[in-house]
């Protein structure tokens, strides 16, 4: 089975069966990265473009490695600003790239919905590698993969996501993905960082991390961005860390065998203490490892869906 659509724009647009297919394909691809020769010939001759309008190391590298391990040709185009600033529209930039016969465009953009513009206009497959505060589907899928790998299942688990929910595309994709897979999602943070109607997406909101973590199987911390302090959303790092940061004491409230996740990059001592980040429950680096396998699966299944292999 392959993916039904030309593009992967968000978890919102995937069916449960497609998510399961991505995860099981990733399981078989994970082994490839442990070989001496880390390559399969599946996508030889395909051209993939990493189009990143926002700085990123982890996600860009992960997609690049995934494409290379599938033997695709991949090039990176990075711009710290929108192409509009340079006087070219996003659509024109993308059409120019496609004119060079790309098969797939992986796009990261600071504005929500930007990949949809590309998907509508282009014949190439489009993968959303993070758009504004909207979605980051490959992150949610690698998180799901990691949870399944560590805990053996997802259905029925209590999963707490703590931090800046309002500005987090990781949170949105995870809420949607974990809901589709039958987990109970709990959100926590100061009310300034939690949109009022977010519960309608299928999550319960807590203001005390102790309540959100109580009996949790998974605790997922989100990066807190310092510029939010300037916009008056919280008074400062010290107070944030005290009321919402994850430390040993709070971890103890979780279920035995809890796993601690973070999409990175982490602010040590702010949203997560060093002993927790490096502690025995932390699976933060497993997430990174699994990211490559999951992205290989996404790229492979989207290509296969177009009858190309």
């Amino acid at each position: 089975m392959a993916l039904k659509k030309k593009d992967l724009l968000g978890i919102d647009y995937l069916e449960k069966a497609e998510i399961e297919e991505i995860i099981s394909t990733a399981e078989s691809f994970k082994e490839v990265s442990t070989r001496d020769i880390k390559k399969v010939p599946a996508l030889r001759g395909r051209t993939i473009v990493n189009l990143f309008f926002e700085p990123s190391t982890r996600t860009r590298t992960s997609f690049e490695l995934a494409a290379k391990r599938l033997s695709a040709d991949i090039i990176n185009i990075s711009s710290s600003t929108s192409s509009v600033v340079k006087g070219e529209t996003l659509l024109d930039t993308a059409r120019n790239i496609e004119a060079m016969n790309s098969d797939m465009i992986i796009v990261r953009h600071s504005m929500s919905g930007a990949p949809m513009i590309l998907a509508k206009a282009l014949k190439s497959s489009v993968i959303n590698a993070g758009d504004g505060s909207h979605e980051h589907p490959s992150q949610a899928l690698l998180d799901l993969f990691t949870i399944k790998e560590r805990l053996g299942r997802v259905e029925g688990l209590n999963i707490a996501i703590i931090g800046d929910i309002a500005h987090s595309r990781v949170a949105r994709s995870n809420i949607l993905c974990l809901n589709k897979m039958g987990a109970n999602v709990r959100l926590c943070g100061p009310a300034t960082l939690i949109p009022a109607d977010i519960e309608k997406m299928g999550a319960k909101v807590y203001f005390r991390p102790e309540d959100a973590i109580d009996g949790a199987d998974v605790v997922m911390m989100l990066r807190i961005q310092m510029e939010r302090q300037k916009s008056g959303l919280f008074p400062g790092v010290r107070e944030y860390s005290r009321f919402f940061g994850l430390n040993q004491e709070r971890v103890r409230l979780a279920k035995e065998g809890v796993i601690i996740m973070h999409p990175g990059p982490i602010n040590r001592g702010v949203e997560i203490s060093t002993e927790v980040a490096d502690g025995p429950y932390s699976v933060i680096l497993d997430q990174v490892t699994n990211g490559v396998a999951v992205r290989m699966a996404i790229i492979y299944l989207l290509t296969e869906g177009r009858g190309a292999i």
Binding site: V84, S112, G113, H134, P195
Partner: protein
């Protein structure tokens, strides 16, 4: 030559007239039907099955000239207005330069006269450059033909400035039209704040951004006794505030636009920038409250807030697209749905397009009695047409209603006794 509109259902809200009769026009005036057959030549328009009403008035549109002629110019906008059944339109001052002086006002009126499709009454800026810091020369602009004042698009943030604006406009018998938006609350927002914005990760504009300003301006209207008109009401809370203010006897009128009683923020899920408008499309509960406000008279006026933009400006990231919907040519057809569904009687609906905007601006209400100017619209209430960007005469093809089949369209517009020619 006499023009005779024969056999139509004449609805003249100002005079409580609704029945089949003939209208006679000579020159630019409606005349008394002659007692005997005249020898002079006449042209007969067969209006059987049509509604004959006073030409519509749009008290809120953007014609973009001077400064943004690539979006629209006065001639193209006035022609689109005539196609939409309007014979009088009021254009907002957010041009470049801003219409904050007699010379810009005179330029606009001059361009409109040259174009000739309908009457254009400029709305002058409240403050110089619409910057919110110094009053513009309202007296001289009023003298030159400005029919009201507004810093539309740039709300007057300073409450004391707004107070003085209301007082000063009152001196010259003019209405202040308030674009109610608390800029600090709406900053960076691109759509309604709610469940949909939460899901889409788009920055929201809360209903409160509109409502705190409606509340402020109602208080200032009470304080000053000046005439306040609230532009483009979009939220249930605003409707309630205006309802209470009217019950209290405060001199306040209000308008809404067809998109607020037709669409909701659910439509934005596809990041369709053609639905990006300010104030934003709200929830179903707001949409219903807007219709409730129209039904009980809380909302006096239906205006278009016609905001034409070039396609290249709308075909970008949602955050970057400009706010606005091209609305002159679809307003009546969208409003007709309210009459067809029985929510608002036809005569009452037409009142919101004719008598009420005139009264809100302190003008004489349009009428079809002999002696009145021959500004008339003929409406076919039964004809159905699909909205498509390419059927619009406006340069702004940015309709939010593409693909919608609407029933009831204007079929002829008569301005100053002349049939306005336009091709669809």
């Amino acid at each position: 030559m006499t023009l005779i509109i024969r056999g139509g259902r004449v609805i003249d809200p100002a005079n409580g007239m609704d029945g089949i009769r003939d209208i006679y026009i000579e020159g630019d005036k409606i005349i008394q039907p002659p007692k005997t057959k005249k020898t002079s030549s006449s042209e007969v328009i067969d209006a059987r099955g049509l509604i004959v009403a006073p030409g519509l008035i749009d008290m809120h549109c953007h014609l973009r000239e001077p400064g943004f002629e690539y979006k629209e110019d006065i001639a193209s906008g006035a022609r689109a207005a005539a196609a939409g059944g309007f014979t009088t339109i009021c254009c907002m001052p957010n041009t470049n330069p801003v219409n904050d002086s007699r010379s810009v006002t005179e330029f606009i009126i001059g361009q409109a006269k040259k174009a000739g499709f309908c009457k254009v009454l400029p709305i002058g800026a409240i403050t110089k450059g619409s910057m919110g810091t110094e009053l513009a020369e309202m007296g001289e602009m009023a003298e030159a033909g400005c029919t009201g004042f507004s810093d539309d698009g740039k709300p007057v943030a300073n409450a004391e400035m707004m107070r003085h604006a209301l007082e000063y406009a009152k001196t010259f018998g003019r209405t202040i039209i308030s674009h109610c938006e608390e800029p600090a609350l709406s900053a960076g927002g691109v759509m309604n704040e709610g469940a949909v914005s939460a899901r889409l990760g788009l920055r929201g504009i809360p209903s409160a951004a509109e409502e705190v300003m409606v509340a402020r301006d109602i208080s200032l209207a009470r304080l000053t006794g000046a005439r306040l008109h609230v532009a483009h009401v979009s939220t249930a809370g605003s409707v309630e505030l205006i309802r209470r203010a009217k019950a209290e006897g405060i001199s306040v009128t209000a308008e809404t636009c067809p998109h607020y009683f037709t669409l909701t923020d659910e439509g934005v899920v596809s990041y369709n920038t053609y639905l990006k408008v300010n104030p934003p499309l709200r929830t179903e509960a707001d949409r219903k409250a807007i219709i409730g406000g129209l039904e009980d008279g809380t909302i006096d006026v239906i205006a278009t807030d016609h905001a034409p933009h070039a396609a290249s400006e709308k075909d970008v990231e949602f955050d970057l697209a400009p706010f606005g919907i091209s609305g002159l040519e679809t307003a009546l057809a969208l409003a007709m749905a309210l009459a067809h569904s029985g929510l608002i009687p036809m005569a009452e609906l037409l009142r919101k397009f004719t008598v009420n905007p005139a009264l809100a601006l302190g003008m004489a209400p349009p009428s079809l009695l002999p002696g009145s100017p021959a500004d008339i619209v003929l409406i076919d209430p039964e004809t159905e047409k699909t909205v498509r960007p390419e059927i619009l005469l406006s340069k702004g093809k940015n309709t939010a209603f593409s693909g919608l089949v609407l029933k009831g369209w204007p079929v002829m517009t008569i301005h100053e006794g002349k049939k306005i020619e336009f091709k669809h």
